[in-house]
Amino acid sequence: MFYTYLRRELAGRRKQTAIVAIGMALAIALVIIVNSVSSGVQLAQASVLESVYGVGTDITVSQAPAAAATPGTGNGAPQRFDFGSADGAAADGTTTISRSRLTAERGTETFASTGLDSVRAVPNVSAAAATLLLSNSTFSGALPTRSQGATRPSTGQGAPSGQSAETPPTGGPDGAGGSSFSVDSFTVLGLNPADAAVGPLSAVTLTAGRSLASTDAGANVAVLDASYATTASLAVGGTVVIAGTDFSIVGLVSAATADSATAANVYIPLDVAQSLAALPGQVSNIYVQAASSTDINQVQADIRTALPAATVKTQADLASSVSGSLASASSLVSNLGLWLSLIVLAAAFLIAILFTISGVTRRTREFGTLKAIGWSNGRIVRQVGGESLVQGLIGGVVGIAVGLAGILVINIIAPTLTAGASTAVQAVGRGAGAAGGAGGAGGAGFGPGGGGFGAATQAATQSNIVLTAPVTVSVILIAVGLAVLGGLLAGVIGGWRASRLRPAEALRSIA
């Protein structure tokens, strides 16, 4: 009887069934899509962070730059390149000059590497590694060699015919007295090869050569970010010049997730980095792995106590440092998406409840009659509850189908999000090539033509991440759970109303 009656009611009152089911379906589809997109965004965030901070890094320790940075310490100070009169090599009327500086990366403060020992002494720290993030800037250029003739004022010595003073300038990169300069910079990360289990290199994929080994300590060897190597036309076996020192390139690494950059352009042994940058015993970041995820808060607190001056961030803190459209997507999903699905869900529940109540009211005489012929309250509550539950389940099934279709569409469109991890680790792109040198006809006497500086483009690590919306069993279970919950809620309320009807209602004259 239960199933017959249930079937007949749902089929016989199609409009009511459809409205309740559609409301529920919309809500559930929305919940599924929002849930799936948000886990997609989380995955994307995790992969961005992983490529920058490494796998298994639970906590990073850095030190914020002192508020008033003293000039010349490299932090926030303008970069200066001083050239003495003897610098540069002259040939063919052109003097080429080049100077490299290796300094702590802008925005990073270095601190004593003894901090690593303090971190390791904290309970529940399973691994820790220290790195030194540096920036290598090379200022190079070419200018015409200054000659007596060219510098002498044209009126100084009699030039009767008036032609000698107007001799056009020669030399320089364009052969016409022009000059050309460029600033080229890249990031250098010094790390202890022995501590590779945690830190930036723990998440990378070796694409060529070998990684840094413990035996590389003290050696002038480097591992390059593969995409940087491509831009800079460098390869394994070649040489990269850091602060005027040649390093042989032993390997190339790329981020495990395609399309995103690793933490730095060049990786060298920590001790070498410290001595080249004249920062002995200094590090800029410590990467910490906690024994278990439940220990993270305790480890963070203990490190804060041990290193009061340090900035101690967990992965959760770091996630907020992810910028770009990925960050916008993340906040869109977590704010708008969450609220929208909550509102639609509440509306769907309300629709289901109101329709069930109005259905019960409309069927007052029907339920009164059933009570009059001996149906118990329990039987009537079961009947009303069953109807609502099935309506909710139909909505749930349709909603899951619509939701999965929506996810499929998202995955087919595969929107690309850009993401930057803009905290302590900020890779500096390679300076753009030389421009300028266009000063053709120089002025009289003082010969240098127009000069041009290659603008050093400084770009933060930019990753392009394709958003994928994963479908998990838990999402489906949540959807089914919500459908059941909505149906039961409406059913319980409607059933309660029906159970309160008096059987004598059956005798009421027809309205």
Binding site: A372, G374, N377
Partner: protein, 228 residues
Amino acid sequence: MYQLTNVTKKYDQGKRSVTALQDVTVSIPDGQMVAIQGPTGGGKSTLLQMLGALDRPSSGSVLLETEHLGSSNLSSLGDSQLGRIRATEIGFVFQGFNLIPTLTAQENVETALAPLGGTNAARRERSAAALEAVGLGDRLGHLPAELSGGQQQRVAIARALVKDPTVLLADEPTGNLDEETRDEIMDLLEGLWRAQGLTLIVVTHDSAVARRAQRRLHIKAGRLTELA
């Protein structure tokens, strides 16, 4: 048989209190056919509710004595016990037929058997037989909307009688029917009453209906009187 003693039913409507039944004392033996008449608002339906275990009186007692239940005091039983008695002992026929619009004729009849348990097959068999007995053996799968008023009331009668009740209570069973159909339905009810040895209590405005009864009661302003 019924034994009503000093049954009073008051309805409280805010400040006003309506006395629908006033000190009704009456005895109805088994197998009797009784007509209850009276002006509108006189208390006929209220009395039927007392007899049908649909409601309890404000005071007084309503005793129902049947073969397999013995004596029950309907004025002091709980809701679920009253429901149990309605399910097994009492059949109802209403003026508005009160069929469930989404269920077929046969399924409507089956609803009366649902509280009694038993297998689906047994229920189907009994409901088909009951519909056969009211002359609707060929309309088992019809929805109420596909049946005429007289046919709908026949389905309702089949639903009331399918469980073999002790008492059949009908409130204006022919109130919504034309004269010809009224006579058909009354012939049917009378025939079933005779054949099954029921106690049949019919509330009616219609003296043509009342004339068929062995005994006629009259209620006016809640007071019951016996008509000769």
